[in-house]
């Protein structure tokens, strides 16, 4: 089967990669680019653990074919490690014990970061909507919601 050559900008760097037709974005991110913050849970769009930003929009990377990302801009948690908003969110997640097993934490942080960009003082309802597509199997949602509220507030925008 013919592979095709595509170029994806991941975390600010252009990556030429070879993909097969069924390869999904998550396959390229994890297996070719070694970005392991992107987790695979259900593979059917139900759990949201694979969330990344594509052209600035939060999407499930298990539901997007890699070939459809040719020429697009992808951001994973690895690309935001030096970002001040992300550092703040990480700090409040740690302070509030918002990571239990930690499996959903990267996706929760990506959704939180996406929310923080749009809303300086999100209400609990807005926070719940923002993370509604991400399943925490430890069911520790209240710590997560508190962390996001604090992380956004400290932005002081």
């Amino acid at each position: 089967m013919a592979q095709r050559a595509i170029t994806i900008n991941v975390n600010g760097t252009e990556h030429p990669v070879q993909v097969d037709a069924p390869d999904r974005l998550i396959d390229v991110l994890r297996d070719q680019l070694n970005l392991k913050s992107v987790k695979e849970g259900c593979s059917t769009g139900d759990c949201g653990i694979c969330a990344v930003l594509v052209d600035g929009k939060l999407v499930n990377s298990c539901l997007m074919l890699a070939a459809q990302c040719d020429g697009r801009r992808v951001t994973t948690l690895e690309g935001l490690l030096e970002d001040q908003t992300m550092k703040r969110l990480q700090g409040s997640f740690i302070a509030n014990n918002a990571a239990q097993c930690g499996f959903c934490t990267p996706a929760m942080l990506m959704a939180s970061w996406d929310l923080a960009r749009h809303s300086a003082e999100p209400s609990s309802e807005e926070i719940k909507v923002a993370i509604s597509g991400i399943l925490c199997r430890c069911t520790g949602y209240y710590q997560i919601i508190d962390s996001i509220r604090e992380g956004c507030e400290k932005g002081g925008r």
């Binding site: 769009g45 949201g48 969330a51 929009k57 999407v59 539901l63 459809q68 509604s132 597509g133």
Partner: protein, 293 residues
């Protein structure tokens, strides 16, 4: 999916030509939020995917002209939420978009994809049916327009030929003494496939008492097929929007629905909820229009 191939056409005409000649066992993919999980579960196994997701310049738009609102098939659910168009009489579209999936899905899921999926869980189908939407279907041989009410012919079955692509959804926004409303029930608030999904477009006469027209659509009317509840709509027309009329209409609706049970809920429960929603929808619409409270 190991033998799967992907065709990335250069433009819509290229995609249509491809489907015309090599369309057997092909599936059109936009965002893939419905298609890919179904392939994963082996509910369908196309041998080639025709990727139209890059045609956003041609197929992603929300326009209003000559009294018609036109949505390009690649318009995303987030686009609907961010548009200034869907307030007031058209807030039904915002309501449905708000309850649609979750942010990651809304950001990519398309209006055209939701309609073409044609399952009883597609949130937008009852909404656009209540708005009496029309669909533009393109093929290499030309274009045709089909009313949405005639489009869904069975569970996940549409009137679309394998060589066709849905390019546009259009409808006339309700005017005058009209309003629209939407209700959805699932087992939780977010990221849920609807158990009951019900949309109403209601127009009153100048007296603000008598129902001029009522278009009621549900995710399931008979079996698992989204459709208009035509008998219930007809029953309401010409009657005064009173408590008694609604109570009678609820009975008509119950007799019109033939709902089966599945793991999401029993047919009896769905019917009960559909009746409750009918009352809410009529009351919400009449209140907004300024009719009987």
């Amino acid at each position: 999916m190991s033998s799967l191939q992907l065709y990335s056409p250069t433009d819509l005409n290229d995609a249509l030509r491809f489907l015309e000649h090599d369309g057997r066992n092909a599936a059109v993919i936009a965002s893939g939020t419905d298609l890919l999980p179904r392939m994963k579960r082996r509910q369908i196994s196309p041998s080639i995917l025709v990727d139209i997701s890059s045609f956003t310049e041609d197929l992603r738009y929300i326009h209003q002209s000559d009294g018609t609102i036109r949505l390009g098939a690649l318009t995303t659910v987030t686009d609907l939420l961010e548009s200034p168009m869907f307030y007031g009489r058209l807030s039904i579209i915002r309501e449905a978009a708000t309850l649609f999936g979750a942010p990651q899905v809304r950001n990519v899921a398309t209006v055209g994809g939701n309609i073409c999926s044609a399952a009883s869980s597609e949130d937008l189908i009852p909404v656009f049916m209540a708005l009496d939407a029309k669909l533009k279907l393109a093929s290499a041989r030309g274009e045709r327009t089909v009313p949405l009410r005639d489009f869904v012919v069975g569970k996940r079955q549409t009137a679309m030929e394998p060589s066709e692509i849905l390019t546009e959804v259009s409808f006339s926004p309700p005017g005058g003494h009209s309003w629209t409303a939407y209700e959805k029930l699932g087992r939780r608030n977010m990221l849920i496939l609807a158990m009951v999904n019900e949309a109403l477009s209601l127009t009153l006469e100048d007296d603000l008492q008598t129902i001029h027209s009522a278009r009621l659509a549900l995710n399931r009317v008979s079996g698992k097929i989204p459709a208009l509840a035509v008998r219930t709509g007809n029953f309401l027309e010409g009657k005064r929007a009173t408590d008694q009329t609604i109570a009678q209409a609820q009975k008509v609706l119950a007799s019109e629905l033939s709902l089966t049970s599945d793991f999401r809920g029993s047919g009896e429960y769905r019917t009960e909820v559909a009746q409750v929603y009918l009352r809410r929808l009529v009351e919400r619409c009449t209140r907004q229009i300024g009719g009987p409270s």
